[in-house]
Symmetry: C2
Subunit: 243 residues, 2 copies
């Protein structure tokens, strides 16, 4: 029987490839305990050697690194259905921390069970591999945005990305979605100051591209927002095909 908390995760997988019932069962069987994490808490810390990987069932998490002078850089934002540290299964030692942006519900997968999956389910292994490479593709797109886009286009791009990724797991409500993140955190993700985040946000608002209020974002003009960000969803690999 398939695990109910893995619903969004399976949706994410099914968008990229056909997952057999046996594979779904194997994943469900590999799932360990569930847990609640309060907002602001760390799920894993840099230097840790976790013996299990964490899947976000609900809530938002972030991967980040803190520099010696206290500056923080967020390298990824994870939404429900994302495996936040599947890579620790292979990398062993964490080279960054993972924190909860909001209260989260998580499921953990002991590495022992994941190893078994790699021994017995090669196709499923490739699909899990794919999931980690999607993160990698998103990292590349962030690099492009940080290096070559204006702050406003970069922010627009992030909104586009989250709009699509949340759509995949059914968390878009009409033209809006919830994103429990402050402007300081947004600055840490974009690599700009919180003050500038505010200015850039107002720019996008004044262009009637979106509203952003109380952690709820309304996309007012999706085609124009995409053009503003030069957003192309190719890097999210949304096609179902044999992997």
């Amino acid at each position: 029987m398939t695990h109910p908390s893995l619903d969004r995760f399976f949706r994410k997988l099914a968008l990229r490839d056909v997952i057999s019932a046996a594979e779904r069962d194997a994943l469900s069987a590999a799932a360990g305990g569930e847990a609640e994490i309060p907002a602001g808490a760390d799920l894993v810390r840099e230097g840790d050697r976790p013996d299990r990987s964490t899947l976000v069932v609900s809530g938002f998490t972030t991967r980040y690194r803190v520099l010696s002078d206290g500056q923080r850089q967020i390298t990824a934002i994870h939404v429900p259905g994302d495996f936040v540290d599947l890579h620790s299964f292979v990398l062993k030692e964490m080279d960054h921390s993972v924190g909860a942006l909001s209260a989260c519900r998580i499921v953990t997968f002991p590495h022992r069970g994941l190893t078994e999956i790699t021994e017995r389910f090669p196709h499923l292994t490739r699909v899990l591999w794919l999931m980690t490479l999607l993160d990698s593709a998103i990292h590349r797109e962030w690099i492009v945005a940080m290096g070559r886009r204006s702050a406003s286009a970069q922010l627009a791009h992030l909104v586009c990305e989250l709009y699509v990724r949340l759509g995949v797991v059914g968390l878009i409500d009409g033209d809006s979605f919830v994103l429990p993140i402050t402007q300081v955190e947004l600055g840490d993700a974009l690599g700009i100051s919180a003050v500038h985040v505010n200015r850039v946000l107002q720019e996008l608002r004044s262009e009637n591209l979106l509203t952003w209020h109380n952690h709820k974002i309304h996309v007012l003009d999706w085609p124009r927002l995409q053009r503003r960000a030069e957003f192309d969803s190719r890097y999210l690999h949304l096609q179902q095909e044999p992997r």
Copy 2:
């Protein structure tokens, strides 16, 4: 028998885990033809659906994306022994291009053979998976550098990274290494202008941290360069351990 051109690649693997003779043979058998690529040529292009993955035997390559206004952002620099598009084996469609920075010798691995490896060699599969996750870790470190480090520290960090990565495959000669890359390309990698690359380079030179002449870099003071960049090699996962 093991393939001689895979030497550097095997060295890179052996640094992270013990690779059996059978695994080395399997990889060698999966290797297809070798080829020479002239400097400036593309190995793969955005939108391609390659049926094989490319390993760099000698020479330097780069992953990049070009925006509509012609701006380019380099998202990765690959050195000999690196698999430049192993991820295409799983992602199928390329979301970026790969170009040769210098004349290169490459070996290609048909995806069919890689699929077989995932069916028959689970441990080797995890090691290959690891190789793609190292790229991912490097992406994250670039994001941190782009977002939160000064241009000079970012450049210093890149030099540190290449120094370590080239050391792994035996391409450090004393305190120096060859990096066939122009200041324009360096700017594309760091996300800054070529003019500013020049200024920042001179800053590091005047601090007696390094020299950079004719595509040859001398590291004059490794400890101080590391401190300047706040470089910590943890993200390169240099320990050998069971994956």
